[in-house]
Amino acid sequence: MSGDGQGRSHWFDDEAGPVVRPYAMTRGRTTSAAQHRLDLIAVVVTEHDAGDPETDPTLSPEHVDIVGLCRDEPQSVAELAAELDLPIGVVRVLIGDLVHAELVHVSRPVPPAELPDESILRDVINGLRAL
């Protein structure tokens, strides 16, 4: 279909708004059963024994994209949302599905209570200086 040279010329334009509502991708779900809310800077990592997600008929193209993007380099939830141009809420649900399917795991950012760890903050200062 994409090889027909038509490219992006559709009968509708941007003014029509999204033709598929974003939450259609999540089949209307706005939360994921898997876990509590994922932080914007939680990092998603593809399991290295994850097979080819394209062969899994239960996954949407967006699921497959996430598995692919996080295989080479772990990505934060915010980056995935920006990269896929999807609302954060949608991305969260999709990631929840993938965690459930054991295709990715999420490493949680440092919890607030542990944040003021002096050695990390010192590393941040040194890192900023070296930029």
């Binding site: 974003p22 939450y23 809310r37 932080d39 914007l40 800077i41 939680a42 990092v43 990592v45 290295h48 080479d72 380099e73 772990p74 934060s76 915010a78 980056e79 949302a81 920006a82 990269e83 609302p87 954060i88 809420g89 490493s107 950012p109 440092v110 919890p111 607030p112 944040l115 003021p116 002096e118 990390i120 903050l121 010192r122 590393d123 941040v124 200062i125 890192g127 900023l128 200086r129 070296a130 930029l131």
Partner: protein, 201 residues
Amino acid sequence: MIFGRSERGKPPVEPVTLKILVAGGFGVGKTTLVGAVSEIRPLRTEELLTEAGRPVDDTSGVEAKHTTTVAMDFGRITLREDLVLYLFGTPGQERFWFMWDELSEGALGAVVLADTRRLEDCFAGIDYFERRSIPFLVGVNCFEGAARYPAEAVRQALDLDDDVPVLLCDARDRESVKEVLIGLVRHAMEYAADRRQAVVG
């Protein structure tokens, strides 16, 4: 040595991620500041909100719910392979405060950018971080053509506590923004140390 795909058995590094918020009024230079130090062009994430129509939206006669988009711009600084800092510009409009709650959870601290011509625009941000005990500093973005005020005058005008740093900066200038961020992390360290003492003492 073998490079590339044959190294696939090796799991990728999972970095520790930290975030700093950049708050301030509309047009004060939040995204400019993020862009000055970010290794990527500031990205935009969006969240869809459904809210009941409000009087300000003039929905008289239309009782349907509205979908609004809140956008946040963010940048990334890889400090080390295993340590990544994200900078988030907070959404400007005050009716999106609840997004701030989510953003500020676990944040290292916040930079409140101020413009001396419209100082009142940053009151809301200062209030917010004070109330939630999130370490912050005030960066006075020195716009060309705006009168320069000494940091002390700005501190007084904003009625800041003595320990809140006030720095004059240029949001377009990488070195200047680096200084602001270093100042904030230092302040966060002191803040954490004080709090620990308060708990022990």
